[in-house]
């Protein structure tokens, strides 16, 4: 499995798509000047923009790398040569996943450092209203990364059943978009106001979808980082637990499906 992780990382670093996406990181340079346009709350705005940019880059990486890594291997017939080596399909799949996860961690470490510098500069020039708590910022970046690692697992699950990359790519994007709003939808259908307007069937469906789709709202610590509000330790623990069990479930499903898949 270690060898698969190694070649996965090598593959990403030598990939054009990766290089293109990382070019987006250049945008960091514009954050201080963009933020200073607002005149007020420059530091807060710098933090917001930095975290958003990190999220966006990680999202692109997670969607494209997560959905294409298995698909590409099958499409380009690498699976024939790799899966006939003494590597079980499960360790191949997990090797791929951990390779991508490690890569996302490395990327966010790098981007996080750059963001830290940018924010430091901004706060030096325009002192913020509330002092920046760097550990909250770190937590925000870490949990954002975990969120996208979970998304990679979802993308891999989808690519084990699909023969094209459309399902994984768009499925992952839809999962991401939907998971951002499930909390609101859930709260809405269960609110007394909706009782008359929504049929019980729809309510059941919405509730089912709510429990199946990942709930990613807990991973968002942006507000805490921006306004230096301490996050709840209990909440973080719960999110971490949710991350581990949900990812494990996705990977377990993916491994089962992938083991049954025919390499034609």
């Amino acid at each position: 499995m270690i060898t698969i992780i190694q070649i996965t990382l090598k593959g990403i670093f030598r990939d054009r798509v990766f290089q293109g996406i990382m070019a987006l990181a250049v945008l960091f340079l514009f954050i201080p000047s963009a933020a200073s346009l607002s005149m007020r709350q420059v530091t807060e705005l710098s933090i917001t923009l930095s975290l958003s940019l990190i999220s966006f880059i990680l999202l692109l990486l997670a969607v494209f790398l997560g959905s294409t890594s298995l698909w590409k291997d099958m499409e380009r017939r690498y699976t024939f040569s790799v899966l006939s080596l003494p590597v079980s399909r499960t360790s191949y799949l997990l090797g791929r996943f951990f390779g991508l996860a490690l890569f996302l961690l490395m990327t966010s470490a790098l981007l996080g450092t750059v963001a830290g510098l940018v924010i430091k500069v901004a706060s030096g020039i325009y002192p913020p209203g509330r002092p920046i708590v760097w550990s909250y910022l770190l937590l925000a970046v870490i949990f954002a990364t975990l969120k996208y690692i979970l998304l990679v697992a979802a993308a891999m699950l989808l690519s084990t059943v699909s023969t094209s990359f459309f399902l994984p790519v768009f499925g992952t994007i839809c999962t991401f978009l939907a998971s951002g709003i499930t909390q609101q939808v859930y709260e809405f259908v269960h609110s007394p106001a909706s009782a008359n307007t929504i049929s019980p069937f729809l309510k059941t469906v919405a509730t089912g979808v709510y429990y199946i789709l990942p709930n990613l709202s807990g991973f968002d610590l942006k507000v805490n980082a921006i306004y230096s509000i301490p996050p709840s330790g209990y909440g973080l623990g719960l999110t971490l637990f949710y991350f581990i069990s949900y990812t494990a479930m996705l990977l377990g499903g993916a491994a089962l499906l992938f083991a049954r898949r025919e390499m034609k």
Partner: protein
């Protein structure tokens, strides 16, 4: 021990829109250790399908197979095998050298041994100069050579090669034959598919002919070659000193010669005409096509 033990292997592909392809039906075959076995069949006969079942890439619909006594497709069975896929593709962002190292590591080879074998294999297959370039930039024949190198590097006891000579130049083909003969000398089992009868004649101990997913014939190559005498070419010099060639069937030979001698002609040459593997193969394919239509 049996290197390969295939029992009643069958495969039905189910495509979209209820399309069904009965690619392989009840193939049973055993290959002992140390034997070179040629798996001959026309396009679409089911050779690759058989091999993919052996490697666990697809699940057979019926039957089973063992490799060195271990169920095919398991991680343990794959440890015994060097497999060359047909039209192989390897991670093209790696160089030949990196890819071979990757393969060696999955077989848990010692790093020093791996380096030595890697160098040997790259030199043997004439990839040494290109070893640091990514496979992306290799020609088709060079990729095939990488495929052969990755088969040799971990020195397995069973070699399963799907059309090892395809895409190679004449020198490359000759090299592959040499490699196979060398493996045979070292007591390895080589099972390879091909549609070229000549390759089989030159290197194989036994041949199996697959047709429409059925194994039609399994025979020793030398038996086919000796049994295959179908007639003789006889050159006669008559009293004028002119030479004439005659084609004579096997059972007419004695009578023909006696008759010529009696009429005062001289028999200059008697050469057996063999029905070679190619003829046999073509005859089988023809009959097969005739009976199925």
């Amino acid at each position: 021990m049996l290197a390969l033990d295939i029992q009643n292997l069958g495969k039905i592909f189910k495509g979209k829109k209820r399309q069904i392809v009965d690619a392989l039906q009840g193939v049973s075959l055993t290959v002992p250790e140390g034997e070179v076995f040629g798996f001959l069949g026309p396009n679409g006969a089911g050779k690759s399908t058989t091999i993919k079942c052996l490697m666990g890439l697809i699940r057979p619909t019926t039957g089973s197979a063992n490799i060195m006594g271990v169920a095919a497709g398991t991680e343990a069975s794959k440890r015994h095998v060097g497999y060359l896929p047909e039209n192989p593709a390897f991670y093209d962002y790696l160089s030949a050298e990196e890819y071979l190292s990757f393969v060696g590591r999955t077989f848990q080879m010692q790093e020093s041994l791996l380096q030595r074998r890697r160098e040997e294999a790259l030199k043997l297959l004439e990839l040494w100069d290109a070893r640091k370039r990514p496979i992306r930039g290799y020609s088709k024949g060079m990729v095939q050579r990488v495929g052969l190198a990755q088969v040799l590097i971990h020195d397995p006891s069973v070699y399963i090669l799907d059309e090892p000579m395809s895409g190679l130049d004449p020198i490359g083909r000759a090299l592959v034959k040499e490699i196979i003969l060398d493996l045979k000398k070292r007591g390895k089992c080589v099972f390879f598919s091909t549609h070229i009868t000549d390759d089989v004649e030159k290197v194989c101990d036994r041949v199996g002919i697959l047709l429409h997913g059925q194994l039609k014939l399994v025979e020793r190559v030398d038996t086919i070659m000796t049994q295959g005498i179908v007639g003789y070419q006889i050159r006669i010099r008559n009293s004028d000193g002119k030479s004439v060639d005659h084609q004579v069937t096997k059972d007419m030979l004695d009578g023909f010669i006696a008759g010529q001698v009696a009429s005062g002609n001289e028999v200059v040459l008697v050469e057996p005409r063999r029905k070679n593997l190619e003829d046999l193969f073509l005859a089988l394919v023809h009959n097969g096509a005739g009976s199925s239509s």
